[in-house]
């Protein structure tokens, strides 16, 4: 939101037109921080641009989808994934910031897993990218724990009453990824095709894999 500043109109011809628009308060504070930190040599503008490009364009839930698809077709990988997720995910080279201390929780016919970070927004960046806004919202953080079934319904996910919902609270020391159940009727699909059925929300637990009809 850009704040328009009221200025007195000056009738003189040679007065320049200033920008007259002041960025919003947090943007100014970010600008101040950046100026200060670049000046101190603590951050570099090119590095900042590279980081933004990486997280806007290169890292995302496609990585996590590949992990899930592999677990569906490779039993021994699945076992390694459930025993030591960080190490198993490393096999696919999805490592790096916020990719430490990973735990994979498996959905079954009896249990549906769902992930939240009640404190802030801890999330496994290397496999899911950055969290969506709703994941960081007050409402999701508070209600996922209090009334998970209702929240899932709002996401369009209606679970049978018999299925137990387990909510996992991610922290900076423990980040969860849901291993959804492989959809029925996908026996003929390749690993690559299976990966396309894995949605981001299915790995957070607020959705299920989706079959794409060509």
């Amino acid at each position: 939101m850009i704040k328009k500043i009221n200025t007195k109109k000056n009738n003189t011809e040679n007065i320049h037109h200033s920008h007259n628009i002041l960025p919003e308060e947090p943007e100014l504070r970010v600008k101040a921080l950046e100026t200060l930190l670049v000046n101190k040599g603590l951050v570099d503008r090119n590095t900042l641009n590279e980081l933004i490009d990486t997280y806007e364009n290169r890292i995302g839930p496609k990585n996590g989808a590949k992990v899930i698809a592999k677990a569906w077709v490779d039993v021994s990988f699945k076992e390694r994934l459930l025993n030591n997720a960080t190490k198993a995910i490393e096999e696919l080279s999805y490592t790096g910031r916020q990719g430490e201390h990973m735990v994979v929780v498996e959905n079954t016919y009896e249990i549906h897993n769902m992930v939240v970070c009640t404190l802030c927004s801890c999330y496994p960046w290397p496999v899911l990218g950055l969290p969506p806004s709703w994941y960081k919202s007050d409402e999701y953080r508070a209600r996922a724990v209090r009334e998970p079934r209702k929240v899932l319904k709002e996401f369009g996910l209606l679970l049978d009453e018999k299925i137990k919902i387990k909510v996992w609270d991610s922290t900076s020391e423990m980040r969860y990824l849901v291993l959804p159940m492989r959809p029925k009727g996908t026996e003929e699909l390749t690993e690559e095709e299976l990966a396309k059925t894995v949605t981001r929300n299915s790995m957070i637990g607020t959705g299920l894999p989706e079959l794409i009809n060509d």
Binding site: L37, V43, L119, K136, S137
Partner: protein, 107 residues
């Protein structure tokens, strides 16, 4: 109702991306550990709990405040210094002729 169908872009405004990148970069340069920042962010979110938090603008604003406080704690800068530079930017925005790049001088 959780606004799950809203715009799901990682960064909805350039300053969201900027503060994110600054924080990651500082953590990688070992100015602080990521978990230290997470603690500050969690605290800030708790402090701001009275406001409606949509997970976008207000979330990143808490992020900005958390980083400022952590940098003050680490003695990288002071509140006064941050305000001083912020004011330089404000004045540059208000006084730079339209069409010219907004800049501040040496700090």
């Amino acid at each position: 109702m959780i606004p799950s169908k809203l715009n799901d872009k990682n960064f909805q405004k350039p300053w969201h991306a900027q503060i994110f990148a600054i924080t990651v970069s500082l953590s990688e340069n070992k100015v602080f550990e990521w978990c230290e920042f997470s603690d500050f962010l969690a605290h800030e979110i708790k402090m701001d709990n009275n406001q409606t938090r949509n997970g976008s603008d207000d979330y990143f604003y808490s992020w900005v405040k958390a980083l400022e406080k952590l940098l003050i704690k680490k003695k990288i800068t002071s509140f006064t210094r941050m305000v001083e530079i912020k004011n330089l930017w404000s004045s540059a925005f208000l006084n730079t002729p339209h069409g010219k790049p907004v800049k501040i001088g040496d700090i």
